[in-house]
């Protein structure tokens, strides 16, 4: 199964990279751009038949390794084959 994990910075935690990208876009003339925030995605190939079980395992991976719960939130999407 393909699983996608999207990791974003938690609300209220500053995101200097997003701020800098927003400024960069506006300097290029894209005045329509407001807030910009940056995130990460992780695409995993995971063997398994039960989407629920796979999700639970990936959730554990997120807590243990993939995301930093102190400053990040994550969202898991299981894309069945």
């Amino acid at each position: 199964m393909r699983v996608r994990v999207e990791i974003t910075r938690r609300e209220g935690i500053s995101d200097p990279e997003g701020t800098t990208v927003a400024r960069g876009l506006r300097d290029l003339g894209y005045d329509e751009v407001g807030d910009v925030s940056m995130g990460r995605t992780i695409h995993l190939e995971v063997t398994g038949d039960d989407p629920g079980a796979v999700r639970a395992r990936v959730d554990e991976m997120c807590r243990r390794l993939l995301a930093n719960p102190v400053i990040e939130d994550y969202e898991i999407t299981v894309e069945e084959a």
């Binding site: 200097p16 990279e17 800098t20 990208v21 960069g24 300097d27 290029l28």
Partner: protein
């Protein structure tokens, strides 16, 4: 008259004073030029020094390449005046399309600051014309995104045209994976195209024996030699 060289300062650049110091030792009149300047008139060559322009946010060099001064840099490339990018400067030149390829994170995902050995592969460039082919130089590397990548076809093209000017090697000049500090494709440490050259190691950090090596001089001397129009 001593040739005048522009050393560009982007917000986040940090090696500009070191480059000015090193070029000064070679008798060059090196001046800091702020990235908001639009012209490089009056300069015989330009150096984009190392650092973290715009914090390396998004991708290294991504935002810097839009600075006004880059129009002047592109113009130099067009008319054949020497352009040298060191470390972050190399990354910016790649982003700007003035050199092929790109630089991504080191394969072990760790920043590396230590002297490495590089072998001179081609002596036609503004970076290596004073050196001899096969010469091994000991020069500090200082980067997180030092891993040179490009399509296989681009790499082949680069090799064919003599664009690979420096490769990571061991002290005896052997080029192999053990001598590759960051995973760079084909151990590439420096490339050149026309009058433009870029490299990841910092030649300006190896210009006096008391700093541990003065092997970087030969590269900067090559650049200085190239400032005389007849040599380009």
């Amino acid at each position: 008259m001593t040739p005048r060289v522009a050393v560009v300062v982007f917000p986040g650049t940090n090696c500009e004073h070191d480059v000015v110091h090193a070029l000064g030792l070679l008798g060059v009149d090196a001046r800091l030029v702020f990235h908001k300047e639009t012209s490089l008139d009056g300069y015989a060559g330009v150096v984009l020094p190392g650092g973290f322009a715009h914090g390396d946010y998004l991708r290294t060099g991504a935002i810097a390449r839009f600075s006004p001064v880059m129009a002047g840099v592109a113009r130099f490339a067009e008319i054949g005046r020497p352009v040298l990018g060191i470390c972050n400067g190399f990354q910016i030149l790649c982003e700007a399309g003035l050199l092929p390829g790109a630089l991504v994170e080191n394969r072990d995902l760790r920043f590396v600051c230590r002297p490495v050995h590089v072998r001179v592969e081609d002596t036609g460039s503004v970076l290596t014309r004073a050196a001899s082919a096969g010469q091994v130089l000991r020069i500090p590397l200082n980067s997180y995104e030092g891993n040179y990548v490009a399509d296989e076809a681009d790499l082949d093209e680069l090799e064919r045209t003599g664009g690979v000017v420096l490769r990571y090697s061991d002290p005896s000049g052997t080029v192999d994976d053990a001598a590759n500090p960051n995973g760079a494709a084909r151990n590439i440490a420096g490339v050149a195209r026309g009058s433009v050259a870029g490299l990841m190691p910092h030649p300006e950090r190896a210009v006096e024996p008391i700093l541990g090596s003065d092997d970087g001089r030969i590269l900067l001397e090559s650049f200085v030699d190239s400032l005389t129009p007849s040599r380009v």
